[in-house]
Each structure stands twice: as structure tokens, then as C-alpha cells.
Amino acid sequence: MLNQNLKLNTKIFNSDVEKKSTRIGFGEGLLLAGIDDEKVVGLCADLLESVKMNIFTDKFPKRFIEAGIAEQNMASVASGMASMGKIPFITSYAIFNPGRNWEQIRTTICYNNQNVKIIGSHAGLSVGPDGGSHQILEDIALMRVLPNMVVISPCDAIEAKKATMVIAKTESPSYLRVARNDTPIITTEETPFEIGKAQIVFGPENGLAQVGIIATGPILYNVLIAAKKLESEGVKIKVMNLSTIKPLDINAVISLAKETKRIITVEDHQVIGGMGSAVAECLSEFYPTKIEFIGVKDQFGQSGTPTELAKYYKIDTESIIESIYKILNK
């Protein structure tokens, strides 16, 4: 059952559940952060409306820099602005920001420890028809390897809005991964959000769980649907929303592993180097546990609807259910 201590959306399992993209959540959060602090400025690389930064720039046109299709320059310009006391948010599709401009982020933002916020939109397979060139599945790996970087992958628009506001107030280079498509609203305005705090969003009504599923991003919804179905089949499951991938909530991950002895990680990202790898690094050091990794297995994406792609790359609800039975029978 849903963990209602977190005041989650009670309509999450309804077929008419409200949907909104995490990129809109970012745009709304940036507007609020901008109202709150005049040091917040926005930069974008010719994708203002796509990344929903227009919600901010409509109100604050003088605090916006259009950098053109030049993401490498944009990252270092933001570093310079941060050194003068600004809180720059740099935006583009995640394939270019942080895909194209990784070394600029490493050297001019992280190595310099400048307070720049990197927003990667249209991340993951869920971009759909645009095809594999635009479906970045490597950004979490690219960002979590960098010293000083905070990495957040929110599960819905509301969490994306909160994360945006929180990183604006947290002095650190930060990466926020958002997606293009409208996805179910899982949390509510009242759900707490804190950087580095994982949340158990679903668990058995009583007794210990047999398997722990850790998910990041909007794909958490697929996991919740799977958990709900298996609950009715008598399987006891705990589901964790791991929206902050770095710093990792080590205690929460270990505690889930201790209870369930079996962990499944789920992400719309390569299995290599992603959130599952972060969990595996933690557990293999502190509490070796059986893990199944659900994610893209060393492949590029392709055109298709998000549903078709989720099925093909085995990150859909059915594949999650299969993995749960597989790990239970091990």
C-alpha cells in the first residue's frame, strides 16, 4: 500500500490520474526560485520553450541569456556568472547538456566548485519518436562521477518543482534530470522533499517485505503499478523513490536491503553507470545483496512511442513483474 505518511497522490492508481511533465515542474520551480532570489538567472541553448524556461523568462526577461546552439560555451559562461554571485540555471536537452558539454562542466563548474545548476531535459527513452540520437541514457553516469556534483532525477512534476527550488537554495553544482512527456503525478505539494533523502513510497500493510525495488524518475509509476498488482497476488514489496542519486541515501538503501535481502533497481537509463550502479557500489561495500538491474542494457534507443520502447527495452511494468518473480525464485 502507498505510504501515506508521505501524503502521496491518493488517485495514483486511478486510470484518470493527472499527468504533467517533469520539465514543466522544473519551469514552475524556476519561476518560484526566481521570485524568491534575484540572483537566479537562466541560460538556454535555443530551446527555451522546449525546456519550459519560458515560464521564468516571461517574468524575468532581463535575467535570461540566450546562448544559441552552443552548450559548451553556455556551461562556462554560467561558471563565470556564478563566480560573480549569480545562481545560473543552464538548460537544453540532456543529450547536449550535460552530454555535449561534459568537460566544460567538469573543469569550469565542478573543479571550480561554482554554483551552477544543469538542467537536462528530454532524458531517457521516453522522448520516443525523436529516436536514439536524442534519447540520452548516459547522463546519470556522466554526472554522478563528478566530484562536487549533486544529481537529482525527480519522479513527477511536483517533485521536479520542489527539487528546482531546493537546488536554487543549495550552494553546489547540481544536475536535474527531467523528461519531455506528461507522466502521472505521484506526490503532492505536501510530500516532503530533501536532497539526499530516499523515500519508501509503497510497502506491505504488515510484516516484512520480500523484495525491495529502488526506482528513479517518472518510471517510478511503472514500479508502483507492478507493486500494486503483486500485492494482490500476496507478494510483499517495498518501493523506494531514489530521486537523489548523489549524495546517495546510504542508510536508507542498506536498511531496505537488510529487510528484503533482494533488491531490484529500475531506471530509464543505461544499467552501466546509472542509479543501479550507485546502489550496487553501496551494497557491495556495506551489505552484499542480490540485485536485479532494470534499465537499458548497453544499447542505444530508437524511434517509437514511449510505451513501445519501454516494452522493447524491458523497462515496462510487465518486465518489472517478471524480474520480481525471478529474484524471488533465486
Binding site: I65, A67, G68, Q72, G80
Partner: protein, 283 residues
């Protein structure tokens, strides 16, 4: 000031010679590092720190200071030596260059030395940061700061520079002055062999920058160029400073092999002797 007094030129020339001696000594003690570019830019750095920058060495974080971004971080011995001579820290500390735990990392790193404006080393990134600083300064209007950025000619091979050059012109950043260390050398040979930059001034001009070309060892020309650049409106400025790599030590001048090496004991003693003789003549 539009003109510079002969007396000031004499003082700057003596100072630059002292800074060159520091550079040679610190590189010798470090046992590695970049000699040619550091010596070549000693006059420009001396001018900037002793005659141009609005700064307070005793208060390096003074918010109203001008900013100087060194993009080609490998010539940092000239930055460190000039800052020490300007009073930012003890000249004695220059001897720790490239040593474990030193403020003076092989390439500047803000974590170890927060009083440098930026970390640098990977080429082609300083100009973008300077553009960002100039934009931020403009947003804050009020305080009149100049953002200086020193770039190497070789590093103009990096495409990111040209993105920054476009953005600087787009926002008409007349508070930004770029100085190119035009010494015509890079690691694999001359700049014109490796990746021709010629005609460099035409490239910048076509990107709508104000351009000047000077002798980077002539204080009169440096002074005039900075004066002109500071008074240019609605355009960012670039000064192409022709410099002699290894300047000051005759045996090393214009020899690209001195780009990335440090002197050994004999070379060090020879160079210091030469610079001492030059220093005596200047007095």
C-alpha cells in the same frame, strides 16, 4: 591614462625583469612546467597588475575589483610571480610551485588557491567564463568593473572560443578586454603549421569585435591599447599582443622547444646571470 610617463615605463621594465627572474627560479625548482609562454607574457602581466587592474592585493576578494582570467593556464608561473610581486602573497612561496599541497598547483586550481579568479589548464574555456563575468557585471550595473581575459593563440583552435566570441559581440560587452598572447608557437610546431590562424585580426573583426595589434613587450603600446579598449563602446575589445616566447633569455627566445620544459641547473644559472646583467643596465 592615454599616455604613460617614461619613469613609469622604467619602473615597469625593472619589475618585469624581476618577475622573469622569479619565473626562471620557480620553474627550475619545480623541475617541470612551461617556460616560454610565461616569460613571453611577463610584460603584459606586469602592466596589468602594476598599471591597469583596479584591485587590492591586501583584500583579494574585494567585490569591486576588476577580474583577470587566465585562460591558457599553463603559463601560470607568470600569473603567480606577478601576483606575488604585486603583494598578494610572499615571493618566497613561489618556490612551492608544483609541489604537493602547494597553493601554486601546476595549473591554477581555485580549491587550492581561492584568490585566482578561475581554475584553468584545459584550453579554450577562459574566454567563456570572462564573457559570463562581463554579462553578470552588466546585469548588476552600478559598479564599473573591467573583465580582462588572457588567451593563448594556440588555444584559439578550440571551437568553444568562437562560441564565446559570438556571444560577447551579441551582448556588446564593452566591459570585456581580451589579450591574445600571439607568440606563434604551440606544442607540435608553429601556429601556422598546426592550424593556421591567419589572418587573425580579420577573424575577430568579422565577429564584430574592436581589434588592436601591438608589440606585447612595448609598454607604450600596451598602455595605449588598454586605454583605447577601455574607452570602446558597444563592442568587446581584443588586443593581439605579439610576444616573443622565452623573452628575456636570448638563448631560449623563439624556440618552441621551451614551450613545455623547465631549465636545469646550468640553464637556470645562465638565465639568471643574463637577467641580472639586464637588470643592472635598467637601473
Amino acid at each position: 591614462m592615454e599616455t604613460i610617463k617614461d619613469e613609469t615605463i622604467k619602473d615597469l621594465t625593472i619589475k618585469a625583469n624581476d618577475i622573469r627572474k622569479s619565473i626562471v627560479e620557480m620553474l627550475y625548482l619545480a623541475g617541470s612546467g612551461h617556460t616560454a609562454g610565461a616569460l613571453g607574457m611577463a610584460d603584459v602581466f606586469t602592466y596589468l597588475y602594476f598599471n591597469a587592474l583596479k584591485h587590492k592585493p591586501e583584500n583579494p576578494y574585494w567585490i569591486e575589483r576588476d577580474r583577470l582570467i587566465l585562460s591558457n593556464g599553463h603559463i601560470c608561473p607568470v600569473l603567480y610571480a606577478t601576483m606575488a610581486h604585486a603583494g598578494y602573497f610572499k615571493i618566497e612561496e613561489l618556490k612551492t610551485l608544483r609541489k604537493f599541497g602547494s597553493h601554486l598547483q601546476g595549473h591554477p586550481h581555485r580549491e587550492f588557491f581561492p584568490i585566482v579568479e578561475t581554475s584553468s589548464g584545459p584550453l579554450g574555456e577562459g574566454l567563456s567564463q570572462a564573457v559570463g563575468m562581463a554579462i553578470a557585471s552588466r546585469m548588476d550595473n552600478g559598479i564599473n568593473k573591467t573583465i580582462y581575459c588572457v588567451v593563448g593563440d594556440g588555444e584559439l583552435n578550440e571551437g568553444q572560443n568562437w562560441e564565446a566570441i559570438m556571444l560577447g559581440a551579441k551582448y556588446k560587452l564593452d566591459n570585456l578586454i581580451v589579450i591574445i598572447d600571439r607568440n606563434f608557437i604551440q606544442i607540435d610546431g608553429t601556429t601556422e603549421e598546426v592550424m593556421p590562424l591567419s589572418v587573425l585580426e580579420d577573424k575577430w573583426k568579422s565577429f564584430n569585435w574592436d581589434i588592436q595589434k601591438i608589440d606585447g613587450h612595448n609598454f607604450k603600446e600596451i598602455n595605449h591599447a588598454i586605454y583605447h579598449a577601455k574607452n570602446t563602446k558597444w563592442k568587446p575589445s581584443v588586443i593581439i599582443a605579439n610576444t616573443i616566447p622565452g623573452k628575456g633569455v636570448k638563448e631560449w627566445e623563439n624556440d618552441y622547444r621551451w614551450h613545455g620544459i623547465a631549465p636545469n641547473k646550468d640553464q637556470y644559472e645562465m638565465a639568471i646571470k643574463e637577467l641580472n646583467i639586464l637588470g643592472d643596465k635598467l637601473k
